[in-house]
């Protein structure tokens, strides 16, 4: 028997209501204390197209996408045959009987289930039948995998909250499936057993986590324009703020505005940041491109702004509902002329929460736009996590001169590097002091913010800007390093870490190959990134894009003599990265 270590893929069509069934399945396993993860592979339309939902149970706690499917639930006539064809030998298939799939392969285990018949006792209404068939396969799976039905029912109650009728119907459907499955002769070797790995853990998607992080980090102005996969970030922020950020006086301590487009969204954020608000926007690739001009203004005029980029597959509209890490290079250098932006790259839902605050602090501290590069896999899929720590650090509002300080100083020069860190002091509009005002512009200026076309003013100012951004390398979240003196190193960022961590275990167990790991969490890179490369002979740079963009940024930043050590390992299929592909590739290149 294979216990608590398998992947289930449910193949269906979007809009058919399988989402709740899949969540229930995932939650049931979670409640049994088994490490679990789920990934939704959905199409870019609203209803009727093929969708796959993959649930992985892993004793070891691996949460990356598993390349092999151990158990397929085939509900979609359109894709059923291809889905079955794609399975590895020995896998199991639960399918809707009318699809008659058992004939097409003889190296698989097939479980035909007449789902319509199974739910008929529960309902005769056609629309309801369509819905409840889904909960029925949960029941079937429960039986075959020995998932505790009480946990399934608990999960259903949670899923449908107060709605008793819905809950009852779904429980009935699940039971029907469960009973029907009693008639199925168990032929596969997959099963679950209770564990205690999830005590105290939560299950949440990265976008909700980011929204909570921003709310607890005191974000006050949000301007956005809807785009998959970032919309749910702002939408959960709206929901959260309505609940927790409306004062006793009924007044909202936030303003969230749906702008007319992404140019306007960032423009509003910049105006708000300039006037002293903690402001952010959330978008994805196409929005990043549209924000290029404003990003350059914010960099050059030195205005705090936070931009979340929940990455999807590009270029252009690309695959709007598939995951990638393809905006690293664009974000880091966004806009014409010489620009360089601070970029944070969360690698877990907890980091979505914490970095939402880091980004707002860094933006105000360094008076510059900060990009946070999440991705669809992290943002829209649910992940297990330890509960998020309440932020103890006070908000960093950066260098702002108050009326009182101005009275003391008498005057100030907006762009003077008085502290040697390249960061000048600013004043906010509305500061009630005759010397408070200064003129903000995207054109050349001197230390007092006066217009200047002088060569020396330009050079000095641009050099200071470079110094300023360089300072972020130490202030931004430092890399996560697991180094044990191996010869081979792996460099990754964001969600790649899950595949990398599992791959390292595979390399160790299967090939006896040790590989150290550094996960980059911010750009410009911390010095430890240089040191990591310097202390490893060969460093595989893992990227979820075509051009190896993390590798490209390393090429731009690291000392040239270290670059020959880098080995690009870039993949982009729209599917979350899996460990097996990495292991095979590294093994091949190491032997």
């Amino acid at each position: 028997m294979v216990v608590n270590d398998f992947s289930i893929q449910v193949a269906t069509v979007n809009g058919s209501g399988s989402q709740s069934a899949n969540s229930v399945l995932l939650r049931a396993l979670f409640q049994m204390g088994i490490p679990v993860s789920g990934k939704n592979l959905f199409p870019s339309n609203i209803a009727g197209l093929p969708t796959w939902y993959t649930i992985r149970a892993s004793r070891e706690g691996w949460v990356a996408r598993k390349k092999e499917i151990d158990l397929l639930v085939a509900m979609n006539p359109e894709t059923a045959r291809e889905d079955v064809a794609g399975l590895g030998a020995g896998s199991a298939v639960i399918y809707d009987e009318p699809l008659a799939l058992s004939s097409i392969r003889d190296d698989l285990t097939f479980y035909p289930v007449p789902f319509d018949a199974v739910v008929r006792p529960v309902t005769t209404d056609a629309k309801l039948t369509k819905l409840l068939r889904n909960m029925a396969y949960v029941g079937v799976l429960a039986r075959l995998l020995a998932i505790d039905m009480s946990e399934v029912e608990r999960a259903i109650q949670k899923q449908f909250g107060g709605k008793k009728k819905a809950a009852d119907l779904n429980v009935a459907a699940a039971r029907a499936g469960h009973e029907h499955a009693a008639s199925l002769a168990k032929k596969d070797r997959l099963r679950v057993e209770r564990m205690d790995a999830n005590r105290g853990k939560i299950v949440i998607d990265g976008n909700s986590a980011a929204a909570l992080g921003a709310m607890f980090a005191g974000v006050t102005v949000v301007a956005w324009y809807p785009i998959t996969p970032s919309s749910s970030l702002t939408e959960s922020l709206i929901a959260a703020c309505r609940k927790h950020r409306i004062g006793p006086d009924g007044r909202a301590t936030f303003a969230i505005v749906q702008a007319e487009d992404e140019l306007a969204a960032l423009g509003m954020v910049i105006g708000a940041g300039w006037a002293g608000a903690r402001a952010m926007t959330a978008t994805s690739g196409p929005g990043i491109s549209l924000m290029a001009e404003f990003a350059g203004l914010a960099y050059f005029a030195e205005i705090p702004a936070v931009v979340w980029d929940v990455q999807r597959v590009g270029p252009s509209t690309g695959l709007p509902t598939r995951t990638a890490q393809g905006d690293l290079l664009s974000a880091a250098t966004l806009s014409h002329g010489d620009t360089k932006h601070v970029v944070l790259i969360p690698g877990s839902v907890e980091e979505c929460f914490t970095m939402a605050g880091d980004a707002l602090d860094l933006a105000e501290r360094f008076q510059t736009p900060v990009f946070v590069l999440s991705d669809l896999d992290l943002g829209m899929n649910v992940w297990m996590s330890d509960p998020f720590p309440y932020p103890e650090k006070p908000l960093d509002r950066g260098k702002v001169l108050s009326k009182e300080e101005l009275e003391r100083l008498g005057s100030f020069a907006r762009y003077a590097d008085v502290d040697g860190d390249g960061i000048g002091w600013r004043t906010l509009p509305g500061t009630d002091h005759p010397a408070a005002a200064y003129f903000t512009r995207g054109t050349g200026h001197n230390e007092t913010a006066a217009y200047s076309e002088r060569a020396d003013d330009w050079e000095r100012n641009m050099a200071r800007l470079a110094r300023k951004i360089d300072g972020a390398r130490a202030a931004a979240p430092q890399p996560e390093i697991d180094a044990r003196g191996a010869e081979v190193g792996i460099l990754s960022c964001g969600t790649s870490r899950y595949a990398v961590e599992e791959s390292r275990a595979q390399l160790r167990q299967e090939k006896g190959l040790e590989a150290d790991h550094l996960r980059v969490r911010a750009f410009p890179f911390a010095d430890s990134v240089r040191d990591f490369v310097a202390s490893h002979r060969r460093v595989y740079v893992v990227d979820q894009n075509r051009d190896g963009q993390l590798g490209q940024l390393l090429r731009l930043e690291l000392p040239a003599d270290l670059l020959p050590r880098l080995r690009p390992l870039a993949r982009m299929t729209g599917l979350p990265l899996d460990a097996r592909s990495l292991t095979d590739e590294i093994t091949a290149r190491e032997s």
Partner: protein, 351 residues
């Protein structure tokens, strides 16, 4: 000697406003625009209006896009913060600042190219939102700063010095604004000191977006025959719609009024805008009539000036957001970071 002392002339103290500020306290840097550029006159009227209305310069924030017109915020009110943004996208930046600090008095200065060409998208949505601000378009029908190409407000048949003729219909930003639900819309002429000053004061007093399209000749590229934005053209075609004067008062005055008389529109700061109804049928509160009159004027090749439309009843964008009295920008941490228990409660829902 005592005599001498008594008869010695005292230096005349400069005129000050209620805040004790002199006009110089509202001045800006020396202009770098062309001598005679209409934009300079508008800057003068603007700073005078702020002075006369006792607006503290520190409470004013100036915004602009890119263009000769958009440079002018540097040439008035140096004691006010200013943001010279990017071409055509000032409305978004001003909106963000208003969200961050609703107590700011926002003045936006733009050009016809900045607002009607590249910026028309943001212009449309700004008008829709009724963000509290004064939005001045310094309208010369050309791109001054890039040396005289046509903007989207250039009139059909007007000709550049290069001889190129414009054949596309002009966008009437006032008509557009009224169409989109703007709440204070007027048109004036940079050379008409009296009307422009009065309209600027009314605009500043209005609660909501005040759009003023001010025809402002470009002496360098568009002040010639064939252009309806030239001084010459304006002198013959400028048909003032009504005279305006601001009567400071705090009593509520009715706005029912008969032809030939005057209407006093109550402003939200308690001041009153008096409209003299020169026009038999004109009512500045009637959108359709306003659009009709503008269209008629266009038909006659006339430029209709004056306050074309006023709606003092509409909520502003900020009203809709239910913000606190204090600026969001400076709320203390306790008000923007929910307590520990809140996080606890939220996380439990994800268990």
């Amino acid at each position: 000697m005592a005599d001498a002392a008594q008869t010695a002339p005292r230096p005349a103290a400069p005129r000050t406003n209620r805040l004790g500020l002199a006009l110089v306290d509202y001045r800006g840097a020396k202009t770098t625009l062309c001598a005679g550029c209409g934009h300079n006159a508008i800057s003068e009227r603007l700073l005078e209006a702020m002075f006369d209305m006792d607006i503290p310069p520190e409470r004013v924030a100036k915004f602009s896009g890119i263009g000769c017109s958009s440079k002018s915020p540097a040439y008035f009110m140096s004691r006010s913060h200013a943001f010279n943004a990017v071409h055509g996208r000032m409305p978004a930046v001003a909106t963000g600042a208003a969200l961050a600090n609703g107590s700011l008095r926002i003045v936006g200065v733009s050009g016809d190219g900045d607002s009607a060409s590249i910026g028309i998208g943001q212009f449309v949505h700004l008008m829709r939102r009724n963000l509290p601000m004064v939005y001045v378009i310094e309208d010369n029908g050309v791109y001054g700063l890039t040396k005289g190409q046509f903007s989207a407000t250039a009139d059909v048949g007007s000709t550049l010095k290069t001889g190129v003729v414009n054949e596309l219909p002009p966008i009437d930003t006032c008509a557009l604004a009224i169409q989109l639900g703007a709440t204070f819309v007027g048109r004036s002429f940079s050379g008409d000191k009296k009307q422009l000053s009065a309209m600027l004061k009314a605009a500043v007093a209005h609660k909501g977006t005040s759009l003023l399209d001010v025809v402002s000749p470009c002496v360098t590229f568009n002040d010639h025959e064939g252009s309806t934005k030239s001084y010459a053209y304006m002198k013959d075609h400028d048909e003032p719609l009504h005279e305006i004067s601001l009567v400071p008062s705090y009593s509520d005055i009715s706005v029912e009024y008969a032809p030939g008389t005057t209407v006093d529109v109550k402003m939200h700061d308690g001041s009153t805008l008096r409209l003299r109804k020169l026009d038999e049928t004109y009512d500045p509160r009637d959108r359709v009539r306003a659009l009709t009159r503008i269209a008629e004027a266009h038909g006659k090749g006339e430029v209709l000036t004056g306050v074309l439309y006023v709606n003092t009843g509409a909520p502003t964008f900020l009203d809709l957001l239910h913000l606190p009295a204090e600026p969001l920008a400076t709320l203390p941490q306790v008000r923007v970071r929910p307590p520990r228990e809140a996080l606890q409660k939220i996380l439990d829902e994800y268990r």
